[in-house]
């Protein structure tokens, strides 16, 4: 069956360092992959979308890579700040049609000042 795996353990890093979060998937051929941020008590907020024919995408301090051979995406936050502390969700479309977006369980990031 289709599966998305994100690190279930929280990631603790020091302010200013680069945070790297991993998303692995199996039994899947997504057309695109998305990353969302979710704060406690709030809905997810879209951050970045990367398509299957793109290897890397950047937005300000964020960088996403997408390796369809390894079936893996890496999400990087450079020069991390305490305000980056949140849960980060990886999401994939389903084929065909792309109506259904499947989310991972998320990785909790804590950035210490």
């Amino acid at each position: 069956s289709q599966k998305i795996e994100q690190n279930s353990e929280a990631l603790n890093i020091q302010e200013g360092k680069t945070a790297t979060l991993t998303c692995n998937y199996t039994n899947y051929s997504p057309a695109y992959l998305q990353w969302y941020r979710q704060d406690p008590g709030r809905g997810p907020v879209f951050l970045l979308l990367i398509r299957e024919n793109e290897k890397e995408k950047r937005k300000e301090r964020l960088k996403v890579t997408f390796d369809t051979t390894l079936k893996q995406s890496l999400f990087h936050i450079t020069a991390s700040q305490p305000a980056d502390s949140a849960t980060y969700l990886c999401a994939l479309d389903t084929r065909p049609g792309g109506f259904k977006t499947i989310f991972g369980a998320g990785t909790r990031l804590f950035v210490k000042a």
Binding site: G43, L89, G97, G98, K100, T101, A105
Partner: protein, 113 residues
């Protein structure tokens, strides 16, 4: 309003009671999604609307769950004869089209006692 609005924010229901959760999407957004999010998990897809047409309801867990979007804007998710396992946060999201950025509401936290 500028964003997706959900009401109520919190709902406590006695087991066996029927509930109705409302979603006001961003004006002009064609696509509308409902998700269920259990504590510590990612959102799980329930159903998808394109305008007033419900194109995918494969994620609805049982026939006690029913969703509608009669005029292609506001949507209601109804749960009949609520059970304790229905306790979760119910998230609504809308997007301009199927494969574009989705905007989430804050969710409705349902607690069945």
């Amino acid at each position: 309003g500028a964003g997706v609005s959900q009401s109520p924010r919190y709902k406590v229901a006695k087991r066996g009671q029927d509930v109705a959760l409302r979603c006001d999407p961003i004006s002009g957004h064609v696509s509308l999604f409902w998700y269920q999010q259990a504590l510590g998990q990612g959102p799980e897809f329930l159903t998808y609307f394109q305008n007033e047409a419900q194109l995918d309801k494969s994620g609805l867990p049982s026939d006690r769950f029913f969703a509608e979007r009669p005029e292609g804007s506001v949507s209601t998710l109804k749960i009949q004869r609520t059970q304790q396992e229905d306790s979760a946060v119910y998230l609504c999201a809308s997007s301009l089209d199927t494969n574009t950025e989705a905007f989430f509401g804050q969710g409705t936290r349902l607690t069945v006692v």
